[in-house]
């Protein structure tokens, strides 16, 4: 075929028109797609039940609430420590020092982040955040209330919570490892050692409620306590869980991982500024998480005064449990890390088992007790 220049020239406008149309369709396609996505999102977010789910996940028993409680918990701990030690605790910022934590956080965040030369830089930056996330995630399984004011209810939530919590010392060990300091390394290994000591007694202690309730979900366990709290049936398990929880968090009597007079600050030695803030918050978040678990497992969860909403009952019991956390953690000398393992395995584990066995026997031979439980009487 011969090339006809003029035909070619006449075809150019068509060609340009085609390109323009192509671009127009492309843009419109993307636009309608995005519009569709937005519409879908809009519909799903503001559909009443989804909106309320988001509200719960982000606001009330969710993230914001937990973070605010965290800030309150730090203040409460410091104030209580102060009172126990004949001091006043924080006083200057705000009423009774209530804003102290914000001031501290602003100061810490504004500080320079020092990353040691020996540290593995990216892991060093990444781990503190990961730690806080790992600790905050299990809060979504806490049964703040039986109906509506909870976030998620899984049939295996108890196991899942422990799975998350086992990751904490791994993060601590890694943090000690990547900091590139000898003190951090020792601290990291001690954190792992603590978890090794405390994990088994803690899980055995929580087996008691799980068996009595016949459920592995925190919600199911809490619901099983409507007629009798498990603290009545499993008092020793409550004590062992508390002690094992303290050991697992690594606060005072079991604070070998962060023993300040021995290894400066353990695996947190090299963290500064925002990284330190995150690890510091993670420690308190873990304490809070364990307090909430104790309330859910042993103290009846939202069961309590009938004229109060369930969540309020839960929070009251939560505060009392947290108070005991602080009380126990402020009254003993620190144990050496081999002694931690020794005590946890030699005393806590048999005691926890003993109580489970006693409770089982009681169910079998005392039909009145079994009738109180969802298992039902004979």
């Amino acid at each position: 075929m011969q090339f006809d220049f003029f035909t070619w020239l006449a075809g150019i406008p068509d060609w340009i028109y085609g390109i323009l149309q192509w671009i127009y369709h492309l843009i419109m396609g993307i636009f309608f797609w995005a519009w569709g996505v937005i519409e879908w999102l809009w519909a799903s977010v503001f559909a009443p039940e989804s909106f309320m789910f988001l509200f719960r996940a982000v606001l009330f028993p969710g993230l914001i609430f937990v973070v605010l409680t965290l800030i309150w918990a730090v203040w409460f701990t410091r104030k209580l420590w102060g009172r126990i030690q004949d001091r006043r605790g924080p006083v200057h910022m705000g009423k009774y020092g209530g804003l102290q934590l914000f001031a501290d956080a602003i100061k810490l965040i504004a500080k320079e982040n020092i990353i040691p030369d020996n540290a593995k830089r990216w892991m060093f930056r990444f781990l503190p955040g990961l730690l806080l996330v790992v600790v905050l995630l299990p809060f979504c399984f806490i049964p703040w209330d039986f109906d509506y004011w909870f976030i998620a209810d899984l049939s295996v939530s108890l196991v899942l919570v422990f799975a998350f919590l086992t990751a904490v010392p791994v993060v601590a060990l890694l943090a000690g490892w990547v900091s590139g300091s000898k003190y951090s390394l020792i601290g990291g290994f001690r954190a792992a050692n603590n978890q090794f000591a405390a994990e088994i007694p803690m899980i055995i202690s929580s087996v008691g409620p799980a068996i009595l309730a016949g459920s592995l979900s925190l919600m199911g366990i809490a619901q099983a306590q409507t007629s009798v709290w498990f603290a009545v049936l499993l008092p020793i398990n409550l004590a062992t869980f508390l002690v094992a929880a303290i050991a697992s968090v690594g606060i005072f009597p079991f604070d070998a991982p962060v023993a300040d007079s021995e290894i400066i600050f353990g695996w947190r030695t090299e963290f500064t500024g925002i990284y330190f803030t995150l690890t510091y918050f993670a420690e308190f978040a873990e304490q809070m998480l364990y307090s909430a678990l104790i309330v859910a497992l042993f103290l009846g969860g939202p069961v309590g005064l009938p004229f109060l909403p369930g969540a309020v009952n839960f929070i009251i019991k939560f505060i009392i449990t947290f108070f005991f956390f602080v009380l126990v953690s402020s009254s003993f000398q620190r144990l050496r890390q081999d002694q931690i393992v020794h005590y946890c395995w030699k005393y806590l584990l048999p005691l926890a088992l003993l109580n489970v066995v006693i409770a089982m026997l009681a169910i079998v031979y005392l039909p009145g007790i079994a009738a109180l439980l969802p298992l039902g009487g004979p």
């Binding site: 209580l80 102060g82 009172r83 126990i84 004949d86 006043r88 009380l327 126990v328 402020s330 009254s331």
Partner: protein
């Protein structure tokens, strides 16, 4: 030590800790509350120029050479101006002891902090009087 006596000891400790929570704290709310300092408190000095005889005994007694004397600066018949350097002074009280003319005393004022180092050298205008600018912090006045 039996298992139960250990439990008893733990209970004792926890009981005391628990009681302590509801006790009045021992410390005080410092800038807003302050205690009464005893008479003998060795705080900053006050120099009574009327009694001073410019004998320079205080300057000789000072172990850290915190006092400088200016004999030219006369206000009365035979007195001298003293400059106290509170960056050096260790509040030992030897100068007050050395002064036999009742011209130099300690006062119970102990909060001497200043923003500027040079302000801690108390010249004759500051050392002869207890008046000073009040410190303002968050809308309240101290001193």
């Amino acid at each position: 030590m039996g298992f139960f006596s250990v439990l008893g000891d733990i209970y004792q400790i926890l009981k005391h800790t628990f009681r302590q929570v509801f006790m009045r704290p021992f410390t005080y709310f410092f800038p807003f509350e302050d205690r009464i300092y005893p008479e003998r408190t060795r705080g900053r000095h006050i120099h009574v120029r009327k009694n001073c005889t410019a004998c320079a005994q205080c300057v000789r007694a000072c172990p850290v050479v915190a006092i400088r004397i200016d004999k030219e600066d006369k206000m009365y018949e035979k007195d001298a101006a003293l400059y106290f350097d509170y960056t050096r002074c260790i509040f030992c009280g030897l100068c007050v002891e050395a002064c036999r003319f009742d011209a130099l005393f300690h006062t119970p004022v102990v909060d001497l902090s200043e923003g500027d180092r040079d302000d801690l050298v108390y010249g004759p205008d500051k050392i002869t009087t207890l008046d000073r600018d009040p410190l303002e912090w968050r809308g309240r006045r101290f001193r």
